[in-house]
Symmetry: C2
């Protein structure tokens, strides 16, 4: 990622990663700075989260009281549908409405798509220097597929920094749509005419995760057909056909246009969805479910970590020898091992 | 699997699986029966292990004092190299040498290969009724790929039943070679002329796990070339070239022949390898490492089970709501959750 157009830079001026992580961190000062909208503090906190700094737990604890306010909007779609252009247009419209906006762009680690993404990213330049916008690219890594494990914590940093809206943009490949839906209050699925996205969406279970469909590049041939395809697929049922459920609207945009681009309607549908989330209780259910899954993941990672500590340890070696010698069995040995954790 | 030719049948006469598992189980009597060589007791114990019966822990504990004697020989190779024929020939030779033999055949769950395997299995008929041979097919299931998670425990049943040698036969697909090597004292890798197995072996890291190579169907064209290929690949190094390491010999067999089939030489090489394992300490290291991995796997499964108990529980829901409300953070919540396990 280039440093152009990034209000929040990945702390490039600081010491190398390894040293930076071990440097003493003044978490309360950083959190206070972030809450005042200081871009450097926000950047530093996200870096601490991304680097899984030893201060991670302190950061999480300090952020907690200041979270829960931001509306989280996920934005996904296949490469080429215009995600970055749409993000730019949404950010511009939200800024005009006086909202403070955070953007987390989760790049796939795939090396061959890096170039194209960097090119897209430069288009965000028009927000550079706007202190009401925080933009941060995150590496996607770990076992989660499309979304970085650090994304939920980075989201909390932007939440605590007073963002009214946080946009999470991710390339729609494989698992990532499902993951973004588990993080976002409202998930936008972008499609474009003539890309067979409708069919792909149906296959990938996108219908189940989309709260709002956006047919971008709606001035192109085939846009009507794409809308019809989506409408037909929605008519086939799934959860959307049940009473009391949200029926995803289909918007048309030409995000690359400076005006009359349809983005206002998307924002209106997002607002409608927000109200539905609140009225139906689904909003709280989603956030609670999201937190539960995050707690579980951390708990399992902690256990795995402790298990890693005993791997190759004298204790495990001794237990293994007892099993080989027949003086105990592997189940009793496992119990003893767990007792030592 | 058919019941033909199986000294130890999968307890087909008993009640259906679910009911059988809940039936009261007299583990001490079964273990005593197995130690006396009673085929029904052995079959029943392996079924309890395979079904993950509630009595699993009791079975493991009762078996432990009687284990550690059997020599475990793994046998793997691509489909078509003649694994079942070779197993039959090895069993016959071992019986002639007065050894008590157990066979665990791990079938891949792949439905399209089932037919061929059943066909192969019928060839084991000539050992039917021989009380010195226990033969059991096991389903391969779970996340372990080629080998069933129950295999190590089934192996202990046969060990406790007084088998001098247990052969584990598995179709060499993907991970299973590596898994069989982690279970076996000595791993035989079967190849056949003209199948490109040599190249495949090099690719799949088979060179690292093979203790003895067996070129079966050695009367066919191309057998010399296959031997040369293997020899060349072994000469390229790896662990085998280091001093004090075992250098895998290459045997030739025509396992389908009743006599003069080369199997005696394979048994001689297995015996050489056994002596090397003992003299070098590698034998104990392998068994200890194997037990350590099994203990770890059971411990992790236990933890996951406990985690499953809290999934959707009131405790997790309450913690999640606290995270959503900002009164705690997910790390502290995870600690609390772990405290409750």
């Amino acid at each position: 990622m280039t440093s152009d157009g990034i209000a929040v830079q990945p702390d490039a001026s600081a010491a190398p990663r390894g040293r930076r992580s071990r440097r003493a961190v003044d978490v309360p000062t950083l959190v206070a700075g972030a809450r005042k909208g200081d871009a450097r503090s926000v950047a530093r906190l996200i870096s601490l989260v991304e680097d899984a700094s030893p201060a991670l737990r302190e950061v999480a604890a300090a952020l907690a009281p200041h979270t829960g306010q931001a509306q989280v909007i996920g934005l996904t779609g296949s490469p080429g549908v215009g995600k970055s252009t749409s993000t730019t247009a949404l950010v511009r419209a939200l800024r005009q409405a006086g909202k403070r906006v955070g953007v987390l762009a989760v790049d796939p680690s795939s090396p061959f798509s890096g170039g194209a993404l960097l090119g897209d990213r430069v288009r965000m330049q028009d927000h550079a220097g706007d202190s009401g916008v925080f933009i941060r690219s995150m590496a996607s890594r770990g076992h989660l597929g499309g979304l970085s494990w650090a994304t939920p914590q980075a989201l909390r940093v932007l939440d605590a920094a007073g963002c009214d809206v946080v946009l999470i943009e991710t390339v729609g490949v494989g698992q990532s749509e499902l993951e973004i839906a588990s993080l976002a209050d409202t998930t936008l699925v972008l499609v474009a005419p003539g890309m067979g996205d409708g069919i792909q969406a149906a296959k990938a279970g996108i219908l189940e995760v989309a709260d709002v469909f956006v047919v971008n590049k709606a001035d192109r041939d085939g846009a009507d057909q794409t809308v019809r395809d989506l409408r037909y697929m929605l008519s086939l049922g799934g959860r959307h056909s049940e009473a009391g459920h949200w029926r995803p609207p289909i918007c048309r945009t030409v995000a690359a246009r400076d005006a009359d681009n349809g983005v206002e309607e998307v924002l209106a549908k997002i607002e409608e969805h927000r109200q539905w989330l609140e009225a139906s209780g689904e909003g709280h259910r989603r956030r609670s479910e999201r937190a539960a899954r995050e707690i579980e993941a951390i708990a399992l990672a902690t256990l795995r970590g402790r298990m890693g500590d005993v791997r190759g340890s004298a204790a495990l070696g001794a237990l293994a020898d007892e099993v080989v010698g027949g003086s105990t069995d592997p189940y009793r040995a496992a119990d003893e091992l767990l007792g030592q954790l």
